[in-house]
Amino acid sequence: MTVKKINKDAFKQFVDGLIKQQKVMGPCAQGDRFEFEQLQSSGQLRLDYDVTLRPPNRKYFLPPVETLLTYEVKGGYQSVYDDAEFILLGIHPYDLAALNQMDQIFSQDNYDSHYMKRRLNATIIACDVVMPSKDVFAASMGTATAKNGFDVLLTDIGDSYIMETGSPKGEKLLEKAKGAVDATAGDLEERQKIWKANQSRLNNHKLKCDCSYLPELLEGAYTHPVWEEKAKTCFSCGSCNQVCPTCYCFNVQDDVNWDFAKGKRQRAWDGCLLDGFTKVAGEHEFRKKREDRFRHRLYRKGKYVPEKLGSQTPACVGCGRCVHACLPDIANPVNIYNRLVDDLGLK
């Protein structure tokens, strides 16, 4: 592990140098919101962003639509891989936690070579949050700061960034940062202050229990009235799924060329809140009721996925995107989990 300091001008030159060599994706302003885009110059980069519209981990590693294979209708199938190298610059710790979770999901049991090819070709430069978003609650979910899973971690300390490496890939990258100097004890102290501050700044909805307690809390909450109450106003629009950095469900569809001779098989984002998600041919639908779908999402985040991964942190990373995206304002996981804590108590 190497820890360096680089002033912001030198950092800009460093980024411009990277852009010349390979694709660099970073947060840019889009109207009054932010979104990860491919950078043309360091001037576009907004490392002071609050939260992006879409989670960068999903956008780049499990894109909205992706071709898995091509085929000849009367012949064989051919795998399609996207093997361009790129740098993901500026991912926040909560989205990084989601990325690390997805890495586990797509590399365990059945190795998903499409996801993993992209993942292994990417360099991750994470960035500590400068400006917390209105609905962020990452601190409640243990993701306000990052301990691992990055190649390089940036922390804005005013006129400079502290750069810490987390992998050999990061070490190599840091060698290219001209003007970076060894961080002093004072710099590290400065960074420590920011980390400490972010633990309280990134907590605009406070969970009333430790997030590792969620699986146990949900154990006894299956028939609680909150599911039906909240789901009453649910549109089943799936917005909460679409903006979530830890949602990874997908649909698979065939797309045939106009000549009906060749085509491709694609996967696209899907969402468990959508009506029809569990519908089989013959019209039987296993989670037909809205409250069942609504509950399923909260159970996946708080219980099913963390238990599957053997993880202490939930599959909700506290980015707050669903809170913002949900029109009837029923999606906020903290409100629901807190209601359960209030009614069921803490063991």
Binding site: L68, L69, Y71, E72, V73, K74, G75, G76, Y77, S79, D103, I105, F106, S107, D109, N110, Y111, D112, S113, H114, M116, R119, L120, N148, G149, G166, S167, Y222, Y248, C249, F250, N251, V252, Q253, D254, V256, F260, G263, R265, R267, D270, C272, F277, T278, K279, V280, A281, G282, H284, F286, R287, D292, H296, Y299, R300, K303, Y304, E307, K308
Partner: protein
């Protein structure tokens, strides 16, 4: 940190296979005998494959043949959706794609040895059970009493008639059949499959009981079995769900915490106690 995995196999890539035989069993059920162009499938009763038609898509289908069947494998596919409608146009010699076999939750072929088995099948639920039934019949000496209960909606929907007839003639198994709606030509039992259960009640205790049928059937069969105070560990249910990937990623087949494509499709009833969405 993630590490490079040396196995780079594409889990979504179908392998080519050839349809050796194709024929309608009744109005809606198509029989297919399939031989892989490459290495043959190594499967156990209860496992399923993803059948792929280029340009249409994929559908999960449980294998209908026993692993003791040596000339490829068999599927029975109901014409009910996008892919299966296209499957019904297949003829001998056509190429299809196959992924699999999938599923770690399978029929208890080993555990059942030396014990009685009571198969309860509803309609097309006969098909997945047939893999286990034929496996047992091909290894008949390994198992105790074998009873097959089959309920079909009406006479015209029955299929595998030769096989059913040979089962009814065998003295080393007991095959009892019923139809929901009788007609003038039907001389057998009339009523739903649960009406057959009291006829074999003496055999139920400590028997292995595999059940497969349409989603609605499970509740009624389990309700009928309720009265006999059977250990839930002995009851096995083959559950159907929507599936896209077959490999535990896409999320469609999830029942509470469990993925049917990974943990199923065959589940022990006792394991469903913590899966309220299952039945």
């Amino acid at each position: 940190m993630i590490e490079q995995n040396t196995i780079q196999k594409d889990i979504y890539l179908p392998q080519l296979a050839t349809v050796k035989k194709a024929g309608l069993l009744n109005e809606t059920e198509l029989y297919l005998q399939i031989v892989m162009d490459g290495p043959q499938l190594d499967y156990v009763p209860g496992q399923f494959v993803e059948v792929s038609l280029a340009g249409i898509g994929e559908a999960p289908v449980t294998i209908a043949s026993s692993p003791t069947f040596e000339d490829g494998f068999e599927l029975v596919i109901r014409k009910v959706g996008n892919v299966t409608n296209a499957v019904h146009k297949l003829q001998a010699g056509n190429k299809i794609g196959i992924r699999g076999p999938f599923g770690k939750g399978v029929y208890p072929t080993e555990e059942s040895k030396g014990r009685n088995i009571v198969f309860i099948c509803g309609g097309i639920g006969l098909v997945p059970q047939r893999s286990f039934i034929n496996y047992v019949l091909d290894n008949r000496g390994d198992y105790g009493d074998v009873i097959i209960l089959l309920g079909t909606k009406c006479r015209s929907q029955r299929f595998f008639l030769d096989e059913l007839q040979s089962w009814s003639k065998r003295s080393d198994i007991q095959f009892i059949e019923t139809v929901d709606q009788g007609d003038d030509c039907w001389k057998g039992n009339v009523g739903v499959v649960t009406t057959l259960i009291p006829k074999v009640e003496a055999k139920l205790k400590s028997a292995v009981i595999p059940i497969c049928g349409p989603p609605i059937m499970y509740k009624f069969v389990l309700m009928s079995l309720q009265g006999y105070d059977l250990p839930h560990e002995n009851i096995f249910l083959n559950l159907e769900r929507k599936m896209k990937c077959g490999v535990g990623k896409c999320g469609h087949c999830q029942i509470n915490h469990s993925y049917v494509c990974m943990d199923g499709p065959v589940f022990r009833y006792s394991d469903l106690a913590i899966m309220p969405e299952a039945i």
